[in-house]
Symmetry: C2
Subunit: 400 residues, 2 copies
């Protein structure tokens, strides 16, 4: 017989455009199962459990839930916190007092670790409960999963922003650098290549943290493209590095042999200054170099990818189903079915909490060009189904 | 009898999401009038005329035109250039050689000035032609016009970005500063208040270039809101100033009486550092302060406001109609009809080129709060019809 009692849901880590789809997936599915009596939301994840800050999710109407599902950001509030042993004990006391038998934690690898720690603690203390981690992260870096909810919508924003910015860059020319989220994994930055609709469309160069950044090759590549098109659109991951250090701290040896360190901590400003200084005189007396950092809008712009929204809902729903039918803790993971874009489908499976906790994955090498300055076309087959259709741009022949 | 001959269209200044609606409005209308024989596009505005770089716009099919209309950026390429007398002569020779009798120039106040200069030169040289300026600017700062094409779509982007970012800020708390385009006029930054759907929604503070920025009041206001909500979302125009100087160069006298100058030229980074330094210890030992600069995506994200798209098309169409029926140079301006949002309508009228050239307008004082830290609700009636419906956010009672 399945475990019966109350349930808590929490959200953790950086929010996404669809993290509330997962929340609503859990709520709606939980309402179908009599094993779950009362359903509470922990306000700001484990911080809400520790501070006894819970909301009753039973009160929300179905129209309210549908609106919440479409709302970016963590509807319950989020947190970045790894509980200590003491805090685990305090949470366990609360679970016991409120007869909490199910805990669903929506988040990335750090949240999976938190779920694992709590589950492990409850087991050691002999308290019977089911802890489920439910995946989300725009970084797309969770192990075991083919991809993660949240990534598709952020990738859609990045692709759309590059589509528009490519037209802007084309209008006035010059060099445009766009810094995309991703401290360790280049998946999101790589999605910028979805903006290419015609041969001369940007991004013309793409740099991810998985490869060491080479200043000399970078300058050569920028110059070559600029001489051909009069413009260059560049995508750079915020985590782009050299020997494990952020590139603005590693220094560049200029033509006089002097090492120049970046003065600005900000990557976009640093790279724009660098390009202007090194290429400005040679390419154009008033070389136009601009940089934008996409920032938090990437993960919060109120625009969901349909596939991403559907899958985010599905992982929530499946977490409840798995938790109740197996009576064991675990994490929901996503597997891809279908060999190409047309036949794309996804399904879920159960994976142990520890298999997605702590460690993360990187953009596979075969998606990155040998020179480390571009993303291979094969990546489009991977990412496009998660993003969906993008607006097609018009074109006037003869305008460069 | 109306003047008969060939026509040239050019685009100038910073592009917008709908500048190609105007281009297509001109092209489609021109095709209806036999006074216009061949229709050329000047590639990169006056630079294309000077360099004899024209494209034949007669070749574009209607489906191609419909796609171009939805494409952000200047389809013909843009330029920032004020022609000299010599260049005017060179352009005039080209107009004569190609029998150009109509010139349509899409742009802001600088482009209106260019149109005025060319018109004036042609008149002085006795060459009969009609020069029309067609308005566009996301800054919404053209004189005579109630508002300008391009503004509504950029305002929609800003409102949507603030809606999503408000949810993101709410999720993890802390202070979030968003820098919005607008060096001299605060219209676009003011549009951020469209993001407010509930009482505690951001932006909680809004700063525009029309008022001197007061560091002390700013800190007091940020602290007060933070103590109430645990978070603050702030909108700042890129042109925010004190005594006419960018605020990061004016310095702030700290509690010890020392003047502190901003080290970073970048406004967002400067304000974030400033808030962290001055309030960090007092409000929270690890006060979370973040800044995003929306950048070029504001004017190029492939998402048009429907009203803006329609009006951008209309000003193009009307420019051709006015040029042919009056046979005189001028500029198309927009007038608002209807007293409220429900009855909103706009129509065009003719205004002299010099009336919109050079000078610009500012956000009217009655839209700015007395303390200079907010925008009055009355502004919503002005801006909402231009932006259209925005996504409604869900909400879970009890989550702060």
């Amino acid at each position: 017989m399945a475990l019966k009692g109350n349930a808590i849901i929490g959200q953790s880590g950086g929010p996404t455009q669809v993290i509330n789809q997962t929340l609503v997936g859990i709520i709606k599915e939980a309402r179908k199962h009599e094993e779950i009596e009362n359903l509470y939301g922990a306000v700001h994840g484990v911080a809400g459990i520790l501070g006894d800050n819970l909301v009753d999710l039973g009160k929300l109407s179905y129209p309210e839930l549908d609106l919440i599902a479409k709302t970016p950001g963590a509807g319950l509030g989020s947190v970045r916190k790894k509980p200590t042993e003491e805090e685990c004990m305090s949470m366990l006391r609360m679970f016991q007092a409120k007869n909490i038998r199910y805990f669903f934690y929506i988040g990335g690898n750090d949240s999976a670790e938190t779920a694992y720690i709590i589950d492990d603690f409850a087991k050691r203390e002999g308290y019977e409960m089911v802890v489920y981690h439910v995946p989300k992260t725009i970084d797309n870096d969770l192990l075991v999963n083919d991809h993660t909810p949240g990534f598709g919508s952020a990738a859609k924003y990045v692709a759309m922003a590059f589509i528009g910015d490519n037209q802007d860059n084309k209008s006035l020319g010059g060099i445009k650098i766009n810094v995309v989220m991703g401290r360790h994994a280049g998946f999101l930055t790589a999605a910028s290549i979805l903006a290419r609709q015609r041969e001369d469309d940007g991004p013309h160069l793409v740099y991810v943290p998985e490869r060491d950044f080479d200043f000399d090759n970078f300058l050569k590549d920028v110059e070559e493209i600029y001489r051909k098109l009069g413009r260059v659109q560049i995508a750079v991951s915020e985590g782009v590095q050299r020997g494990g250090e952020p590139i603005y701290s590693t220094g560049y040896k200029d033509s006089h042999g002097n090492i120049q360190l970046g003065t600005a901590g900000e990557l976009g400003a640093f790279l724009a200054d660098f390009v202007k200084r090194e290429l400005g005189g040679r390419l154009h007396k008033k070389l136009r170099v601009r940089a934008d950092t996409f920032g938090y809008i990437q993960r919060s712009f109120p625009m969901q990818s349909q596939v991403d929204a559907r899958e985010a809902y599905m992982v929530g729903q499946k977490a409840v189903e798995y938790a109740i039918t197996t009576g064991k803790s675990g994490s929901v993971a996503i597997k891809r079915l279908g060999k190409d874009i047309a036949s794309y489908k996804a399904e879920t499976f159960i994976t142990p909490l520890e298999s997605v906790a702590r460690q993360t994955k990187s953009l596979p090498s075969d998606y990155i060009s040998l020179r480390g300055n571009n993303i291979e076309k094969a990546y489009i087959d991977y990412v496009l189904p998660l993003v969906g259709e993008l607006p097609k741009m018009g074109y006037i022949e003869g305008v460069i």
